[in-house]
Assembly symmetry: D3
Homo-oligomer: 195 residues x 6
């Protein structure tokens, strides 16, 4: 098991040229868009079938149409990943949140304590629900759905919020288990104006 | 939101005839094998894209070749679902565990307290790792992998154990959020000899 | 200390013929009724005086007249024993609950997550109180008694609920400490129609 | 339900003259010895059958012969009652501990943090075991018994330690549920030299 | 590191004659008033600059004018120190609380479970706020300030309550880290009428 | 109480010209050095005496000579503030840590999960001790000091580590209680090369 301090994962990382065509294609697309390949792609490619299911699931939740903005979806990721102490997800999705929210401070705020973040009361209600799904899901009750509705969220939105929290419960545990390292690029992304 | 006491889910359940062909096919296959359609198929079909990713992920972990027996994989599901108080997963996967292990007691034991279950010390070490991934994944360290190796588990096995625990972290939260009801059939399955 | 995997207890189990007359009589009575001697009788007989007090206490709470049905008392046992991860009590009292409630599913539901069980809102309020006594008794306040009264429970009922939760706080810890093994008979009891 | 600030219990307290003969006799005996009737006798007399079982159990554990001194048994009570935030038991048994140990400081120390108390390493090992039974009994394993043996405790002693912790798990919950008030006499008892 | 069982601290304790003049003066003043030098002065004098800041902070909070009585400030100390299992602070400030409140029972009550203490509902609301600052400060919200106001506390009082809880979060951790021993004199102080 | 979303504190912030001379001087010095006045100075100036003690304590721990580098002291602040979910301290001291460590990533790593941070094993041992003081100080034992010594830390270093963790237990609670807002400048500081 690898112990180099700057390894991407506890497990070996496959070379791009050894990857199945569909997986390599997915990586090149994200590289095209982001300018680099996020380490989660490289680390999870160690298991191609899990890789495919993971990103299909991710895209079904994060890229779909719906009542939540892209920034709001990333808030859910960052808040629940903060609660789960997941370094990769806080840093990588924090970057994406800054970009979508066009706010260089909001990711650090949401990761540490969303109650004090520069977000709306509606977004705080969204994160209340998300964190309950993340941390005490067996106690979810009708009252929790009612609290969302009081802020104008639909039942579809409620599913989205809970499902994103649930998916990153998986993602956080995988990243923590294999000690996935965030790319250096994420730390600064969205903190300074694009030129 | 539905509140009938015997509803399968807090969300509507689509009719079989309204489902996409690939989803209906998947259901009919499991019905053929099990004699009924487990409610997780019906409840998650409400979101077809998430359904597909969910079962692809499930199959990638639970049906693959590897060092863990099918019964051992189900032990991981039952133990972590017990820790997450997930009724659907404890009951449904408890049934599958009884069938695979050919032991009518082991599922109840593993769900309540695996330390007292009729399983091997090696299997208890497997569940130690799985529960740490489920409950305190940010504390996973090399020593946890070493404890698995001391019982003869390979690095591939370690990934499998952790990945199953991580996948059911997702599954438990979805089931709890939508109040997924286990099929009545599961409660008795594997408790009495097949005729 | 015994380590045979199918031992009833970490401590020696006395032989029936070596027991004091009153203790043996108690065992034979339960055997007459249940068809077998539950292991809690055999394991606790190691300490005759504690045995007598334990079963006197048990009977004072579980056999008395009062506002709670026998099934409701067993629900309290199963729910709090589930919260305390007590294998013996979940399995043995789960069996008794199934028999009294004439419901083969309710014990598994109450053990894992009573909020999703096929029980009444009144019974859920009863279990809210019982679990607070089991897990955070120093926070019990007038408001908790009021919540019971709102569901029609009397002050006598409140004592019964709390006292059963308190007694099984003892019972769960004894069973866990000595690794008490449930009799095989309990696992199936109440799951299939009596012939 | 009574709310007078100096009530002994949330429930009515029976008058001495209304009590069954055996219960009154038990109270008069303790009054003879202590100079007053501890409130636990008065409060629990509300339920005569539970009263009898409670004190039979108490006496079977606290008055029996065995490897633990009386002071050590009271240390177990005070340490676990402190962990359960039980006012009655900390104050009443703290008094008894001071008397038996002939040490006016030890009860406050054990109630707050036994690791810093003026007790022996052997007694700290005893309290490690007792607190594990009180707080995490499902994790008790052979290693916990071995730790006791390393300090010279026998298997009989181990049972005693665990059983006292288990009995006061019950006692603490009853006292907390009914808001049992310690007698004023206990607060000073054992703090000043007897004349 | 010292291990004598009756040491005042894990660290060396400076001699009075080796202390800086201002520190010695502070000690002699408290000795004049209390009849002895509380060990916190001796133990913290090991680090003179920290000593000065510690007692300046203490005095700024505990000796200032304001809406809280001296007894109420000590209640905050005792309740939060009980929650942090800090032996020195529970015993030493418990003594001061008894003296200020002229009540020999209140300190033990507040240390174990303030909900059952002989204090006013207003004082219980004060301790609700203090314990939230002590244990879950990131969840403090406007509603917590509102609860104080409903009992007549001003915003200045709220700061005082929270700041005392915060200061003793520091104090408890220092005392626990260096195993600070309470002076024997504290145990009895305020328990018997002054002659 | 102020509720403007970009307020610095729940409490009023005094104007510079209304401050006592020594307090204003302290602010101007830090402004000279940092280019702006950190909000902790402005928010705590509401209480001048507490302000003076707070910064005297801070300086006694953070500016003194000793075995810990300035970056290491800030690591302790960031790690324990992350555990306490304190937004102000994570953001402000994270900035200082980046500057001292000349590493733009280390603060985010230490705040989320120091076990995965780009720091030495010796520094991880330092943070193990600091977090135990922050979260479970009553369990600190000789073994914890021994673990530090095994990494070459002296007893003086141990005091420094624990005292910094203890001081920020205070600081985190104050910042959380008054909802102290980090200056915008901190978010980017130390992330990009100085020109």
């Amino acid at each position: 098991m690898t112990t180099t301090s700057n390894a991407i994962s506890r497990y070996p990382v496959p070379k791009l040229e050894d990857l199945a065509e569909d997986i390599r294609k997915r990586m090149l697309e994200v590289q095209e868009k982001a300018g680099f390949i996020p380490n989660v792609f490289l680390a999870l490619a160690y298991r191609p079938d899990e890789f495919r299911a993971f990103f299909d699931y991710h895209d079904a939740l994060m890229l779909k149409e719906g009542g939540l903005t892209k920034a709001e979806r990333e808030m859910i990721v960052v808040a629940t990943s903060g609660a789960n102490d997941c370094l990769y997800c806080v840093v990588a999705h924090g970057a994406v949140l800054r970009v979508y929210a066009k706010n260089p401070r909001v990711a650090d705020q949401v990761a540490v304590n969303y109650r004090e973040a520069e977000i709306t009361p509606r977004q705080k209600a969204m994160l209340d629900f998300a964190l309950k799904v993340a941390l005490r899901s067996s106690e979810i009750a009708e009252a929790d759905f009612d609290a969302l509705k009081a802020h104008g969220f639909s039942e579809e939105d409620a599913w989205d919020i809970g499902a994103i929290a649930a998916f990153f419960a998986l993602s956080n545990r995988m990243a923590n288990m294999i000690a996935m390292r965030p790319n250096d690029e994420f730390y600064l992304m969205g903190r300074v104006p694009r030129k």
